[in-house]
């Protein structure tokens, strides 16, 4: 995966470049909006990580111009501005996700990977299949090994999100934001309780667990050994 990091803080940018490389990705780094926009326009990136406050050209403008050119490369905004309306502004400008500083690297990585995979329009996918677990988006039915599983509406959405990102780490914050649309810290690990209930419904009684906990990062639905 090729990532372009537009971030004016050299240390942060360098840290991101190094960390992404360690995670098996290739990252290019630039410190100002003008250069960033030019590089992004050349294309070839799977994801752009854009800081909101940049010298020369701010992050919002960079993304707006890019979108005006018809470039749909996924964008993750990084910002110290974390209020809900700041987030809304970022998403309106054409950002696909928004991460507030300070953040954990695992959080950033999970989001970047989720964005990079997200190229096919989700609406066209009618069913998710992971091993013998099937989620049918048309009938809203879930089966494991052919046996129907009864889920509460929220559990269904939780599983749907996890299966959409099958094989990728999904953080607790990502779940809270995407499944519940909450952008605050719920203090207690409420997400863990919900995930463990879901796990009880889809994994209990089966030899092979599909919903895994990724230590220090989040969760992953995966067909394989955990």
């Amino acid at each position: 995966m090729r990532v372009l990091v537009i971030e004016d803080d050299k240390e942060t940018a360098g840290y991101l470049q190094k960390s992404l490389k360690e995670s098996g990705h290739w990252a290019e780094v630039t410190g100002d909006g003008e250069t960033g926009l030019a590089l992004a326009k050349e294309g070839g990136f799977d994801v752009l990580i854009v800081d909101r406050m940049l010298p020369e050209l701010d992050g919002l403008t960079v993304v707006k111009r890019l979108r005006a050119d018809g470039d749909a490369t996924p964008v993750l905004f990084l910002s110290a501005l974390g209020e809900v309306d700041d987030r809304v502004k970022g998403l309106r400008a054409g950002g696909d996700d928004y991460l507030t500083k300070p953040y954990a690297y695992t959080e950033l990585l999970a989001r970047v990977e989720a964005l990079a995979r997200r190229k096919a329009p989700e609406e066209q996918v009618t069913r998710y299949v992971v091993d013998d677990l099937v989620l049918d988006r048309l009938s809203h039915r879930v089966t494991r090994a052919g046996e129907p599983i009864v889920l509460q509406p929220r559990e269904y959405r939780l599983l749907e999100y996890l299966m959409r990102h099958a094989g990728q780490v999904v953080t607790r914050t990502m779940l809270l934001e995407n499944v519940w649309d909450y952008h605050f810290d719920p203090q207690t690990n409420v997400i863990d309780v919900h995930v463990s209930r879901l796990r009880g419904k889809i994994d209990k009684g089966f030899d092979k667990p599909l919903l895994h906990t990724v230590r220090g990062a989040g969760y992953m639905v995966r067909d394989g050994q955990g």
Binding site: V84, D85, W180, Y182, F184, P186, Q187, T188, V190
Partner: protein, 491 residues
């Protein structure tokens, strides 16, 4: 005397005095014009009346000459002269010999060429008024070749009345000017004194005494209203400043200590002789500590923003019951997992113009707290010794209610935890206050402060009550009046 002059000068240079002075000037001008017209009109009226009757008598005398000749006219003049009134008559021969009438001599002042005019005379005979020169007006008429008649009126009384009228008007105008100027001066003195009070207060506030307020006299005049508004503004500024000070104080208290802990931990990990494993462990705990710090910092920042902020533009007309229901749904499994009962009671949809994100967060805080303290009470307060059997209620639980009450919406979250002592409740809701007991629990301990700030921002309130046992938090929001102005921060 210089003191007096000094006091006088600023009063004279005030806007109020200038306005009063120009009002007096305009009024004076109008009054003067009026007076002049009045005097002229009065003078004219007298002269016209008099001249008309003189003309009439002149004609009659001329007729009596025409019909009765010299004797006839003499008789007529004598009759006129004898009748009471202000008439003045004199019949003379052309060379000046008096034939009849009540004037002693021919009116000397009459200009030779003119038919008549004003003249001075001394009244005849009567002793008391003798000597005083009076004024009259007369016409001269030649009768035949050898006679001249003067027919006139004594206008001394009118003249004097007119003079008195002029004097009265003049005095009145002068009094008007004086009263106007004095009034203007008094008003501006008064205004100046009040404004100077405001200035003095402003100076001492700028000098650092933020607690000073402008004196309100209770007269409910415009300066009082100005003072009230300025005082309200000062209250708000003081409140914001205090909030700012509290933020910095709290950053110092709540962030420095954990920062120091974090530093110590990192140092200890670095020095740890146990090798890489211990070092990793130390680093992981350092990161955890940093995450907690970030949470505290975010909470402090959010509270500060809520305290200083306004809601405008961030609200939506939403059903508060739905918001609360969604949050409750998020926490329900947590409560069940902790072995607590969890009841959610909604009394119908209750819509209001609120910021849904903030309400969600506030309710999440309340429910989170309720679950935390209820489960802590159920399992007994930690590993402390001497706290064996017979702890608090076995069937602890959390109850969430949403209902409409009057014009407002009331969200109640009740727990079965240890509650908050009555004397601490007030304090617990103050900005940024963390009760001691909350410091030992997980979380930032700023939850209630945050909820209180959200309530205040929405023009609502937060109340803590005894749930016997436990705490009942009553979160009140102003109800839905679809087109009502968004409430601002209230105190």
């Amino acid at each position: 005397m210089t003191g007096r002059a000094e006091r006088l000068a600023p009063a004279l240079s005030t806007g109020a005095f200038r306005i009063a002075a120009s009002a007096v000037a305009v009024f004076l001008l109008v009054a003067a014009v009026l007076a002049v017209l009045l005097i002229r009109d009065a003078g004219d009226a007298v002269s016209e009346d008099v001249m008309a009757s003189i003309e009439a008598e002149t004609q009659r005398i001329a007729q009596s000459y025409a019909s009765g000749g010299r004797d006839g006219v003499r008789l007529a003049v004598e009759q006129y002269a004898a009748s009471p009134g202000h008439g003045l008559y004199l019949l003379t021969t052309r060379d000046g010999g008096k034939l009849a009438g009540n004037l002693a001599t021919r009116p000397q002042d009459l200009v030779a060429g003119k038919r008549g005019g004003v003249f001075s005379f001394k009244p005849q005979g009567s002793g008391d008024a003798a000597g005083a020169v009076r004024q009259g007006v007369a016409l001269r008429v030649a009768l035949g070749d050898d006679l001249v008649a003067y027919i006139g009126r004594d206008i001394e009384t009118q003249r004097q009345r007119l003079g008195r009228m002029r004097l009265v008007l003049l005095v009145a105008l002068a009094a008007l000017v004086l009263a106007g100027l004095a009034g203007g001066y008094a008003v501006s003195r008064h205004v100046l004194r009040r404004v100077e009070e405001v200035n003095a207060t402003a100076r001492s506030i700028m000098g650092g005494d933020m607690s000073r307020r402008i004196v309100v006299t209770g007269g409910d005049d415009e300066i009082d209203r100005l003072a009230l508004n300025l005082n309200r503004m000062l209250d708000r500024i003081e409140m914001l400043m205090q909030g700012l000070r509290e933020v910095s104080d709290n950053i110092a208290h709540d962030l420095k200590t954990p920062l120091n802990r974090l530093r110590n931990r990192a140092e200890a990990a670095l020095r740890d002789p146990a090798g890489e494993g211990a070092c990793r462990d130390g680093l992981e705990r350092t990161i955890e500590e940093a995450d907690d710090l970030i949470k505290t910092f975010n909470a402090l920042l959010l509270i500060a923003r809520l305290e200083a902020g306004a809601l405008e533009g961030t609200t939506e007309d939403v059903d508060v019951a739905t918001i609360v229901g969604d949050v409750a749904e998020l926490y329900q499994p947590v409560a069940e997992e902790a072995g607590l009962s969890f009841d959610v009671v909604m009394y119908g949809p209750v819509s209001a113009d609120v910021n849904p994100h903030l309400i969600s967060q506030a309710v999440a805080n309340l429910i989170d707290n309720a679950i935390k303290y209820s489960s802590a009470a159920r399992t007994g307060p930690g590993p402390g010794p001497g706290d064996g059997e017979g702890g608090p209620s076995e069937t602890g639980g959390v109850r969430v209610e949403v209902e409409r009450a009057g014009n407002g919406i009331v969200v109640t979250v009740a727990d079965s935890g240890p509650g908050i002592a009555a004397e601490d409740r007030e304090r617990a809701l103050k900005r940024f206050v963390r009760l001691e007991r909350s410091r030992s629990r997980p979380g930032t301990g700023l939850g209630l402060s945050l909820v209180a700030a959200v309530a205040r921002l929405h023009g609502g309130s937060l109340r803590l009550e005894d749930n016997a046992p436990g705490l009942r938090v009553v979160f009140t929001l102003p109800g839905a009046s679809p087109h009502a102005k968004t409430p601002r921060l209230q105190h």
